[in-house]
Assembly symmetry: C2
Homo-oligomer: 200 residues x 2
């Protein structure tokens, strides 16, 4: 809001943009608002970001990257792959549910941004399935999971748990019994990864 004497950096613009998005929502947040919040002219914002879309994309990427960090720790840990897989899936679900529950409007805002930015979101999903692939590969190497293509199995696991991390299902995350449903799905998938009793 008040003009600041600090140098205008991309980082400061991104912070201001997040704040404007938080206050005004995705539909009403304008580049002019961001410039006003920083006490500069909107022309200065365009010096750092070519278009409004690029600015929104950068904000989205920042947000998604922050989401990945905590999970990356779980994926890289040196522990039983099956436990890691459960913890990772639970961590992803809990994080999403907490964000959706604590500040529904902000979550809705980011859901809109995510819908706008196919490329950035695709990279984020690749990042997450990459983390999953690492866990699955470790599990196969340790003989805990049945042999197969780790990337395919990780992709299937990720898709099968979409109900518990994809924003389009957010409305259901408040229902009672959702935790039991989550556990049931994860258990079913873990058993599937372990492999079949009867030979193929």
């Amino acid at each position: 809001m008040a003009p600041t004497s600090e140098t205008l950096t991309a980082e400061r613009i991104l912070e201001a943009t997040e704040e404007v998005l938080r206050r005004h929502g995705p539909a009403k947040a304008t580049v002019v608002d961001v410039a006003r919040a920083l006490g500069v002219s909107h022309g200065s914002v365009y010096r750092h970001f070519r278009t409004k879309a690029a600015l929104r994309e950068a904000v989205t990427k920042r947000w998604l990257d922050r989401s990945s960090e905590a999970l990356a720790g779980i994926a890289a840990a040196d522990r039983d792959p099956e436990d890691r897989l459960r913890d990772w899936a639970r961590g992803l679900f809990e994080a999403k549910r907490r964000k959706a529950g604590d500040d529904p409007e902000l979550f809705a805002t980011y859901s809109v941004l995510v819908g706008e930015n196919g490329t950035v979101v695709g990279d984020h999903l690749d990042d997450l399935t990459g983390q999953l692939t690492r866990i699955v590969r470790d599990g196969m190497a340790a003989g805990v999971f049945a042999a197969g293509d780790p990337a395919t199995a990780a992709g299937a696991f990720f898709q099968a748990t979409a109900c518990f991390h994809d924003p389009c299902h957010a409305a259901r995350w408040r229902r009672p019994g959702i935790d039991e449903e989550f556990e049931a799905v994860v258990e079913l998938l873990v058993r599937g990864l372990r492999g079949s009793r009867r030979p193929v």
Copy 2:
């Protein structure tokens, strides 16, 4: 469009409403349009449906019920439960994908209606998971699937395949490789239903 001398029945109103929805879309389809299409006054429509919402709900129910029928046949067949499960899931996916692909606007229209009508949709989902439960129960009875609560397992299977039947994922059904992804998820789930190699 042209006035008809036949008696005005709920059925005829529903047909006209489907047509109006198909032509005008969910946002612009009005009760007055429906009455015009039937050549009657809108007051007559209100004699059969208390509100516009009730009319839309009835149309939604009709549509969902039609969707269930084909699958019900698969679920009730007297065949190997594992094949039945695969065919059922594949049938659900194919039907949804075909509808979304053949007439995207109509599919979008019904997606909106589905979003409006929690109760009717809930019943439909109960119907589908009921069909799945029957298959899973048969599989457990035959020893093909590991013992457990059939309803829980069926619910988990249904949620885990949401990517391939929930309209909110419709945009991804055109991507190349989607069939392989579907197969991978179903295989993983089927292996999970068969049970674990190592004792719990």
